[in-house]
């Protein structure tokens, strides 16, 4: 039974980690790459660490595995946020299909708005406000 749990956790963890690797290769801009690398890989490594905990089953190993999971869950979001912010401040390019950029105009060297955002000159907050005033639903077109 323990073995079955170990194998399932290992396999799920590996698949999630592999998914993160495929994502970082295929995603179109830094922010999506950062997002996919952080979320999928964090879940994947947590599963693998828990697999190690169930496989060995002694107190020292379980404590270490849980510590790995704890530190990973504490540090991964902070690291991702810092990279994302640094990339934005440095003017990283946004994907052409980007629908909303709420930080637009807040940073001197922020990214050039992609063509999907460049049509009107309102900031995202004003845009949203005017849309809610008119009672419009935001149409999301991801094609």
């Amino acid at each position: 039974m323990t073995e079955l749990i170990t194998v399932v956790l290992l396999f799920v963890g590996t698949l999630f980690t592999l998914l993160a690797a495929i994502g970082i290769l295929r995603m179109p801009d830094v922010f999506m790459r950062m997002q996919v690398a952080t979320k999928a890989a964090t879940l994947g490594v947590a599963c693998v660490a828990l697999a190690a905990a169930t496989h060995f089953g002694d107190l020292a190993t379980i404590a270490r595995s849980l510590l790995i999971v704890l530190f990973l869950y504490l540090t991964a979001p902070v690291a991702a946020h810092t990279i994302g912010r640094a990339a934005y401040v440095a003017g990283a390019k946004l994907w052409e299909g980007t629908i909303i950029d709420e930080l637009r105009g807040r940073h001197r060297k922020g990214p050039q708005p992609p063509s999907s955002l460049a049509t009107n000159d309102t900031t995202a907050a004003e845009d949203r406000q005017s849309r809610t005033d008119r009672g419009e639903q935001r149409q999301v077109d991801l094609s």
């Binding site: 079955l4 170990t6 194998v7 690797a21 660490a49 002694d58």
Partner: protein, 97 residues
């Protein structure tokens, strides 16, 4: 022990597959590290490689029946965080100067 073909346990069959898939994942992240195109992309790739190395160490601990390998995994988690934050600060500082 769950027996499969030729008396191998289920874990014996899974572990090589798992290690191979993790290694392939690291390879994909290395491709992104080399291709860039900007510094933040590379920082994200390094962060992912460190995370995948932690997964590799944890599964190697199971594969070689060596629980001591979890200690480097723990240290690597923390070092990767410090490294990523330092790189991110460098990127932001370089942009503002």
């Amino acid at each position: 022990m769950i027996e499969t073909l030729r008396g191998l346990s289920l874990l014996d069959v899974t572990l090589p597959v798992v290690l191979a898939l993790l290694a392939f994942g690291i390879l994909l992240a290395v491709v992104r590290l080399l291709r860039g195109p900007t510094l933040p992309d590379r920082v994200v790739a390094i962060d992912l490689i460190a995370t995948q190395a932690v997964a590799m160490l944890a599964s190697s601990a199971i594969a070689f029946n060596e629980p001591a390998l979890l200690q480097p995994a723990l240290v690597l988690t923390l070092i990767a965080f410090v490294g990523t934050v330092a790189f991110a600060r460098y990127v932001a500082k370089r942009a503002s100067s």
